[in-house]
């Protein structure tokens, strides 16, 4: 069975929002769209300016006339949950975040077991949003969802490693935030002078590794 495209929805006169069943199908369709855009003859339609995956959708924006692509999309043959062939980023983390104990308690684990759950998970960047370079990482088992803070913090430091809902993330820049903070990393997540500016782009795999405080 291929990826199930549930609906192709209009997003104004020049964009399409493709709705899928789950995050794995989003990753699969996104990878397939990029593959076709990269190939010589895989994209007979006008090229989009932006292809933006999210939790259950992929947006194709900047299409002069979306109609032909809207008609063709359901015929795309896409392998579901195909492992992304992108790079793996290893992310050293000092696990001393202010919410680590609360997260461990929520999971019914010790602090040590919670850290091992996080370092033992292979994450994949599902999509970016919220701020430049802010990547939503999937991979946690569904029963490990974590509620957001009831009152967001007004300032979360850059490099904070966090959890909310089904996702983990690293704050690329200092910003307000409602995610639960479990640690911190020295990796530079966002550098506009770098290509690409974001370290974590859709499809990239991420492994968190415990680092010594210092």
């Amino acid at each position: 069975m291929g990826v199930l495209i549930r609906r192709v929805l209009p997003a104004g006169p020049h964009a399409l929002l493709v709705e899928l069943a789950d995050q794995a199908d989003v990753l699969g369709l996104h990878a397939e769209i990029l593959r076709r855009l990269d190939s010589d003859d895989g994209w007979p339609w006008p090229r989009p300016t932006d292809v933006v995956p999210a939790a259950r959708t992929v947006l194709l924006d900047g299409l002069e006339d979306p109609a032909p692509l809207a008609a063709a999309l359901p015929g795309f043959d896409v392998a579901p949950a195909r492992a992304p062939d992108g790079r793996t980023v290893r992310c050293p983390v000092v696990y001393d975040g202010p919410d680590l104990d609360a997260v461990a308690a929520h999971w019914g684990l010790s602090r040590r077991e919670a850290i091992e759950l996080h370092t033992g998970t292979e994450f994949v960047v599902a999509f970016c949003g919220f701020a430049p370079g802010f990547a939503y990482l999937t991979g946690l088992p569904p029963e490990r969802e974590v509620p957001r803070l009831e009152t967001p913090r007004t300032a979360v430091p850059a490099g904070s490693v966090a959890l909310a809902g089904e996702y983990s993330a690293v704050y690329p820049t200092r910003s307000p935030g409602g995610w639960r903070l479990i640690g911190r990393t020295d990796l530079v997540l966002w550098d506009p002078g770098r290509e690409p500016a974001a370290l974590l782009t859709p499809g990239v795999r991420v492994r968190f590794e415990e680092a010594d405080a210092g």
Partner: protein, 293 residues
């Protein structure tokens, strides 16, 4: 000849460097940004013979005053305003020569909200991801102007054909009647919401900014749960948060959002949205996208 620099004598409430923005990075969480009234900025560049991607200054309501250290040709477009050079009235909407050391003053917007000061050669402060636009949401690009800043200009282009020295500009709107194309979550409007959408009048709220126009007025009732999983937003998206008051996203909008987008404003009408002052009445004319049926 060394490049001309412009000293900011009076920065104004919010004056930013803007160009065509940085489309193509939405998948990294980067808003499109760029001049909100693209039509006005494009006209200014054309009248000066600048390339279409040249950056200019976008003012907000109360204008700006600058002093170039060398002779400089400028055009003010967008919101009509009094323009003067060393205290003498000068043209709005047509090229003006400012002598080196001369004081160019752009007064408060007479109507509309955002005037654009295009300068021959364009503003050449450092570009980020291919654009010199300040992004209010993410902070990318050059910071808003402060009094005392010095801004470098690029090489002056050859003068453009004089036939285009003056060009008509649409007056800023007294009210917005906006074409609302189908959005992905149009079906979340309850029946009462769909008829309210056609008949009601909202007004532009004072909390509006480059991120979006917030609207005051009746709450649009929606079907089902208010929140969705995050999905990507286009410029012009009309999102309905739990309080039912629609938000029209402008160019500094977040790349993803979790509330239903019921429609999308026609791109040709976004320049008018950029010029809508708080209190401006807003009505929607829903329009179907042909291929969905």
């Amino acid at each position: 000849m060394s490049p001309v620099q412009v000293e900011v004598v009076r920065a104004g409430a919010l004056t930013t460097v803007q160009d065509r923005g940085r489309p193509g990075f939405a998948h990294l969480g980067v808003p499109p940004s760029g001049a909100l009234d693209q039509r006005a900025l494009a006209l200014g560049n054309r009248l000066l013979g600048n390339p279409p991607d040249a950056a200019g200054l976008e003012t907000t309501l109360d204008g700006v005053a600058i002093r170039p250290d060398g002779a400089c040709r400028i055009v003010v477009t967008g919101a009509p305003a009094e323009v003067s050079v060393d205290g003498r009235p000068a043209a709005w909407g047509a090229p003006v020569e400012v002598p080196g050391g001369g004081l160019l003053q752009i007064g408060p917007a007479i109507s509309g909200l955002r005037s654009y000061v295009s300068l021959a050669g364009g503003v050449v402060v450092g570009a980020v991801l291919g654009s010199r636009s300040h992004d209010l949401l993410s902070g990318l690009g050059p910071a808003p102007l402060r009094t005392g800043d010095r801004i470098p200009l690029g090489d002056r282009p050859p003068a453009p054909p004089s036939a285009v020295d003056v060009a008509p500009q649409p007056a800023p709107p007294d009210e917005l009647e906006l074409t609302l194309w189908d959005g992905p979550r149009r079906d979340r409007l309850a029946d009462a919401g769909a008829s309210l959408l056609r008949s009601a009048t909202w007004t532009v709220a004072s909390a509006s900014n480059r991120v979006g126009l917030r609207l005051e007025g009746p709450a649009l009732p929606l079907r089902g749960a208010g929140e969705l999983r995050s999905e990507a937003l286009v410029t012009g998206a009309v999102q309905v948060p739990p309080d039912g008051r629609p938000v029209i996203f402008l160019r500094d909008h977040p790349t993803t959002g979790g509330y239903p987008v019921i429609g999308v404003i026609d791109p040709a009408e976004l320049s008018a949205c950029a010029q809508a002052r708080p209190g401006t009445p807003v009505r929607f004319r829903p329009r179907r996208v042909g291929w969905t049926h």
